[in-house]
């Protein structure tokens, strides 16, 4: 198999510290504002930040984006190989390392193809042109007579020069111009085809693939102990008893931060249990009353912003509808709890982490521990799929705390299952209030209000330290404030502004400034709930107007690409205009263009309702997606279908359980998710637009899927559930 090589990051070699192999600042005097460069070239402007041509003709690609199970590293390798005209097997990927790669912030928001992919495409085209220019000089022919195949430049007379032979003359320490046009899509040989994922073979055969698989010489094992509730203080614990346990090397206490390091992993686990047993805590904050949670959250201080407004008179006699929708706190619930390895040696801290952003993490650890960023190196190593900001960064901080206590020895810190479930930052609970007016089969008025806590409490905030462990130190750090994020990306208000062509609309974001429950970015941020509400309400308005839901949507859409995905999914599902449910079975549709500017996607779900048990089954789902130019069709399908299934799990099963004293969801029994017997058949239709920009797709399916399921339930039963998830209790109450 001609697959590119993925470096295992050469775990041991990396210990010595690798000097920066590229120049961070271009060697030009910046007398004026530098030219705007596309994608992440704008912030990482030299060619050698992205690409290196090696003497053996292979290519090393550097990206600041990291593999989270979404297949991005393979897709980026395809883009670089395509522009450079080298086989995919000759590309080695280096990703997410503060010592070696460009700083591309977080790998989040389905933006990696647009940011890193664009940079690699432009840099690749430019480097290819540079190499052709060098070859032309060497061969004494004109550059436009030369052709490149598989990394070899051919002259018309049969002479040839391999890329590897030009490395001595190739100076990539220069600012990118982005003036060399990339290949036209019609000439693509690698992009647009389903390349097998680089990382999969090792994962299927027991290769070292995850941060959990990292074993450094002399490595020891750490565990941490969390308070019984947010903000509690550690009054006392039995240090002597734990220190006397077999294998225990260090007990680490700093204020209310508590952890243990032991020689063997099971010894650290046992020591943690004894620490928990004898620890005395006091204080801490009360959680909202789950029975009145949404009202309580909406009564907290909020910063309100009108984010979209279009005015027109509402015709007299229009039919007015109102509805309120809710989405609970939901967990990332990665299949394994967070993990990190840290080592402090000669004043230098190295952290191997599955963080989504090694650069912001480094900066924030530095501030939390009073270190200089240059004395910290954060290296990405894969973890289980993250789906947003989970415990990864916090675990990295915890590992650093423990590594400081055993100077020189690497510590592998593994959170236990309950650490992750109880302490990760959840996707926020949200309330959406919608008011609409219909007249003559058209929506003539639309008001949408969304209330939500912050969806972005990641490391990197300038005014706070968003690392949970640091809030419990004797010198306690504070998290940053909740912040609005600009549209069209938005945060709690992501996809809150309707995409439909309504003559009148007003959209308001109520950003709750307090954090009674810890929250941050969960895949799609607010888009999941906003699309659920908007698309549920569209069906309610369609019913009020007496019009088929598919036809009703199409009547409010002008854009051809929007129409195309809805028409394609209706065709794939053989949707019959005006089709009706039978009390038990029904189908529904949901549509959105993710973030208003990314992938277009429509979803149709079929449900079967067991009315006595209150159980909703979803045997089939159809989707149609337009992600612009497709880089890797199989990878795109995998992301879309994964999003559909994850959203179905959120929609039918998931909510964080808690009472006023603390979080109750601590394992899979009290945070159940969708399992194999209930997974639907998913049929996906991809619409390729090879001449359009590639669009982020990893988070596109979730909102429309939730709406399609809720609409299918309403179509099947004639009753609507407006509060997620669709639990048996809610189903039975709706049908009573």
């Amino acid at each position: 198999m001609d697959a590119p090589r993925l470096t295992r990051r050469d775990f041991t070699a990396a210990l010595g510290g690798i000097v920066l192999s590229f120049s961070l600042v271009p060697k030009v005097a910046l007398v004026q504002e530098p030219a705007r460069l596309p994608g992440s070239l704008q912030t990482n402007r030299t060619l050698d930040a992205w690409l290196r041509i090696n003497a053996d003709g292979s290519v090393t690609v550097f990206t600041g984006k990291v593999e989270l199970g979404q297949g991005i590293v393979t897709a980026l390798a395809q883009i670089a190989a395509e522009e450079l005209e080298v086989p995919l097997g000759r590309v080695t990927m280096i990703s997410g390392d503060t010592g070696r790669t460009p700083n591309e912030g977080q790998t989040a928001g389905s933006q990696s193809i647009e940011q890193s992919g664009t940079a690699l495409r432009m840099a690749g085209a430019e480097v290819r042109a540079l190499l052709i220019g060098l070859a032309a000089r060497k061969l004494g022919v004109s550059a436009d007579t030369l052709k490149v195949t598989d990394g070899v430049i051919h002259a018309p007379d049969g002479r040839k020069v391999g890329y590897g032979e030009l490395t001595a003359e190739t100076d990539l320490k220069r600012e990118a111009t982005a003036k060399v046009p990339p290949k036209p899509a019609a000439q693509y040989k690698i992009v647009g085809k389903s390349a097998p994922r680089i990382d999969i073979p090792a994962k299927m055969t027991g290769g070292a693939a995850f941060v959990q698989d990292l074993r450094l010489p002399g490595m020891v094992h750490g565990r941490v102990v969390r308070p019984p509730r947010y903000g509690a203080r550690l009054d006392s614990f039995d240090e002597a008893r734990v220190k006397a346990m077999p294998g225990v090397i260090a007990v680490v206490r700093d204020g209310s931060f508590l952890g243990v390091v032991a020689r063997r992993e099971e010894q650290a686990i046992n020591a943690r249990l004894v620490l928990i047993e004898f620890a005395k805590w006091s204080g801490g904050s009360e959680l909202p009353d789950p029975a009145k949670m949404y009202e309580q959250l909406m009564s907290l201080r909020s910063e309100d912003r009108v984010i979209g407004e279009k005015d027109a008179p509402v015709p007299v006699g229009a039919k007015v509808l109102e509805a309120t929708y809710h989405r609970p706190y939901q967990a990332h619930a990665a299949i394994a709890p967070s993990c990190a390895v840290a080592e402090l040696k000669d004043g230098k801290l190295t952290v191997w982490t599955h963080s989504q952003g090694v650069f912001p993490l480094r900066a924030t650890i530095a501030r939390a521990l009073g270190l200089q960023p240059r004395d910290i190196r954060c290296i990405h190593a894969e973890g289980p799929g993250c789906y947003g900001h989970n415990g990864a960064d916090d675990a990295a901080f915890d590992a650093a705390m423990l590594a400081r206590a055993v100077n020189g020895r690497p510590v592998r810190l593994q959170w236990m299952r309950d650490d992750e479930f109880k302490w990760e930052p959840y996707g926020p609970a949200m309330t959406m209030k919608v008011k609409g007016a219909v007249a003559g089969g058209r929506v003539v008025g639309w008001t949408f209000d969304v209330w939500s806590q912050s969806h972005n409490m990641r490391p990197g905030d300038p005014d706070g330290i968003n690392l949970m462990g640091s809030w419990y130190l004797a010198d306690a750090k504070r998290p940053g404030p909740a912040r609005h994020a600009a549209q069209p990306n938005g945060a709690g208000d992501r996809n809150a502004i309707t995409l439909y062509d309504f003559p009148r609309q007003r959209t308001t974001h109520h950003l709750i400034m307090e954090n009674p429950v810890r929250t941050s970015a969960l895949r799609t941020l607010g888009a999941y709930a906003n699309v659920f509400a908007i698309e549920s309400f569209m069906d309610e308005l369609a019913a009020a107007a007496g019009i088929d839901p598919v036809a009703f949507r199409l009547a409010h859409i002008k854009d051809e690409r929007e129409r195309a995905v809805i028409e394609a999914v209706a065709k794939a599902a053989a949707w019959k205009p005006g089709e009706k449910g039978d009390g038990r079975r029904g189908r529904g549709i949901g549509y959105a263009r993710y973030k208003t500017v990314a992938t277009y996607i429509a979803v149709i779900a079929e449900v079967e309702v067991n009315r006595t048990a209150g159980i909703v089954k979803v045997p089939r789902i159809w989707t149609s997606a337009d992600a612009g130019q497709i880089i890797n069709p199989d990878g795109l399908t995998n992301q879309i279908e994964g999003g559909v299934i994850q959203s179905m799990s959120w929609t039918l099963h998931e909510h964080v359980r808690f009472d006023r004293n603390g979080i109750l969801s601590e394992d899979w029994m009290n945070y159940p998710i969708l399992t194999m017997p209930d997974v639907p058949k998913v049929e996906t239709v991809l619409i390729n637009r090879p001449n359009e920009r590639a669009l982020g797709a990893g988070e596109a399916a979730q909102g429309p899927t939730a709406a399609a399921i809720a609409n299918a339930f309403a179509a099947a039963t004639g009753r609507r559930i407006r509060e997620l998830p669709l639990t048996p209790e809610r189903v039975k109450a709706a049908l009573a």
Binding site: G206, Q212, E265, E266, P384, I645, D667, T675, M676, V679
Partner: protein, 155 residues
């Protein structure tokens, strides 16, 4: 204390307390990456291995209880160069997003194919009901197991 184990066909001696979960011995003493820690509570299946050909959750299996039994991990099924039909099918179907659950899925599927070499789709779903996948890759996993079952006799 020294405990003697048969893992992937070889006899190995490890120095661990007999109540140590097999998972940590496999991962830390024998440096095998296949079995994964996911919950430590038998709920997710990431740590699944075969003991005498039958699926077992290694996170709660005391290492002392399996002396003299045959333990098989993902590494014992096959290698990159000579993958087991299940491993090959998972690669061919690209049956992973993050891939953290894959080892447990493959081992649970190996247990199924040992009992039922020609399963129907419903059998696969039932056999993997207690192995959690969070990325939503279930359908590819089902296809991979069915593909391996079809090809088992021919490889």
């Amino acid at each position: 204390m020294a405990i003697s184990l048969k893992v992937n066909g070889a006899t190995r001696s490890v120095d661990a307390e007999p109540d140590t979960p097999l998972l940590y011995v496999l991962r830390n003493d024998l440096e095998l990456n296949g079995a994964k820690y996911g919950c430590g509570l038998t709920q997710c299946g990431a740590c699944t291995v075969l003991v005498n050909g039958a699926a077992r959750r290694s996170c709660v299996t005391p290492v002392g209880s399996i002396e003299g039994n045959e333990v098989t991990t993902l590494e014992g099924l096959g290698t990159l160069d000579k993958p087991h039909p299940l491993q090959k099918a998972f690669i061919d179907e690209q049956a992973a997003q993050c891939g953290y659950c894959a080892s447990g899925m493959i081992m649970a599927a190996a247990d199924l194919l040992n009992r039922n070499p020609q399963p129907q789709e419903a059998d696969v779903r039932a056999a993997l009901a207690d192995n959690l996948c969070r990325c939503g890759t279930h359908n590819r996993i089902i296809r991979a197991v069915l593909r391996a079952a079809r090809q088992n006799g021919r490889i």
